[in-house]
């Protein structure tokens, strides 16, 4: 089964957001929202993009600026020169007072054009969906918007995270919204998702000391249920971080024998596995891949 057909294949960590991506994330508290928002903003600054955070209008902008500022020394000048800005959906739509799909999408397209005209490489938006309540928008219309926005992203200059508060939106709405987006983000830094299919193990997120037992257990179980004559694909292409401990466990399990292994991974992970001796394992093949959504 191709990795693209494995359940969860649209899942990725925020670090993998690229120009042209349209992603859903849900948050259960302000801390997880801040982690995703600040990391997304920093990565946008690092890529030379204009970043606008359409925030929950109930929040204090000074606190959000502090959160972004604290992410690192590159953020203060970015805030100072306006590369990172804070706004609200109400302000984006102004002078209109009501949300319409056409108005919102045309304004986001204008903001993208403006960013490019200002010399940025693109425009990325973090949209806290608290605006739905603020503007008393129809949830059904919002779902329609999320499933009919491909043209905004087609040229690869615009990216967007839509952040939904789990405490406000109903479970079934969150499920529909998650399904409506091409990409779905892990909702905190450091999470590890492992999805097993017949001949593929999809590993997403970060495999560090906290997730090492799950990572190793997942690989071990996949090897055990795969016929020795078959090929097991371990898809690490959406893994942002593989610790040296997890990398060693993967190689040690491969060295025991069993099915042939194909490991799809980033160039950094491939280099790490080679340094740790993967070339000495004839049953293991590394496939370097760029991140795909």
């Amino acid at each position: 089964m191709p990795a693209s057909e494995v359940e969860g294949s649209r899942l990725m960590p925020v670090h993998h957001m690229r120009p042209g991506d349209h992603a859903f994330v849900s948050y259960g508290d302000g801390e997880s929202r801040s982690q995703i928002m600040a990391t997304y903003a920093w990565l946008g600054v690092a890529r030379g993009e204009k970043v606008t955070i359409y925030a929950d209008p109930r929040l204090d902008e000074r606190e959000m600026r502090h959160t972004v500022h604290a992410r690192g020394p590159s953020m203060a000048p970015a805030l100072g020169r306006g590369q990172v800005e804070f706004s609200t959906m109400r302000a984006l739509l102004s002078p209109d007072r009501e949300f319409t799909v056409r108005r919102q999408q045309s304004r986001l397209a204008e903001e993208t054009e403006r960013a490019l005209h200002q010399g940025y490489t693109g425009f990325r938006a973090f949209i806290d969906m608290a605006w739905v309540a603020d503007l008393n928008a129809d949830v059904a219309v919002v779902i329609h918007r999320e499933t009919h926005a491909d043209h905004l992203f087609a040229d690869g200059h615009y990216s967007e995270i839509c952040a939904y508060d789990q405490r406000w939106f109903a479970r079934d709405v969150l499920d529909q919204m998650a399904e409506a987006h091409p990409c779905r983000l892990l909702d905190r830094l450091g999470l590890l998702s492992i999805t097993a299919a017949e001949d593929t193990l999809l590993v997403v997120g970060e495999a560090d000391v906290s997730g090492r037992a799950r990572f190793t257990g997942g690989v071990r179980a996949a090897l055990a249920r795969t016929d020795r004559s078959a090929l097991l694909t371990i898809d690490l292409s959406r893994l942002h971080f593989l610790s040296l401990g997890c990398a060693t466990d993967l190689l040690a399990l491969a060295a025991v024998g069993g099915p042939r292994l194909s490991v799809a991974c980033s160039p950094l992970v491939a280099r790490t596995l080679r340094r740790l001796g993967s070339d000495a394992l004839p049953q293991l093949a590394l496939i370097e891949v760029s991140r795909q959504c």
Partner: protein, 141 residues
């Protein structure tokens, strides 16, 4: 690919870029903060991933063998990006780091520290007031 930042002329006076106590749950954020500052300090992207990997390995070592916590200080010193991690554990010496990559059979211990030394331009282990102090550094340019 991330752009390489250029360090501004008004950087931290003592070169200190990050100063944090950490436990296991802090590591994901710590990695982001270290990567951001490594980019800011001018560490080329090709080496940034290795630097974060090495920092994570030393921090993990403190978590697993020195009471579950540690203290990280990241500095730009001269032409180097230097990370110092101290802990309150029993301490260890550089001699535990194997000279050659250990095999995959048995406990395969020491592979992480071996690779950390391989990718670092400088790695030193010394005794601190209570535990170990590990310093790893990479040349920025």
């Amino acid at each position: 690919m991330l752009a390489d930042f250029r360090r501004p002329s008004h950087g931290e006076a003592d070169g200190r870029l990050l100063d944090r106590h950490f436990t296991a749950r802090d590591l994901p954020l710590l990695r982001v903060l270290v990567e951001e500052r490594a980019a800011w300090a001018g560490l080329p992207e090709a080496r940034r991933g290795d630097f974060v990997l090495a920092v994570d390995e030393i921090a993990t070592n403190a978590i697993e063998h020195a009471g579950g916590r540690g203290h990280l200080v990241l500095r730009r010193v001269g032409g180097e990006l230097e990370c110092t991690i101290s802990d309150n554990g029993p301490g260890f010496s550089e001699e535990v780091i194997p000279d050659v990559l250990p095999g995959l059979d048995g406990a395969h211990t020491g592979r992480g520290l071996w690779l950390t030394r391989l990718v670092s331009d400088r790695l030193a282990v010394r005794a601190g007031s209570f535990g170990a102090v590990v310093t790893l550094a990479m040349r920025v340019r």
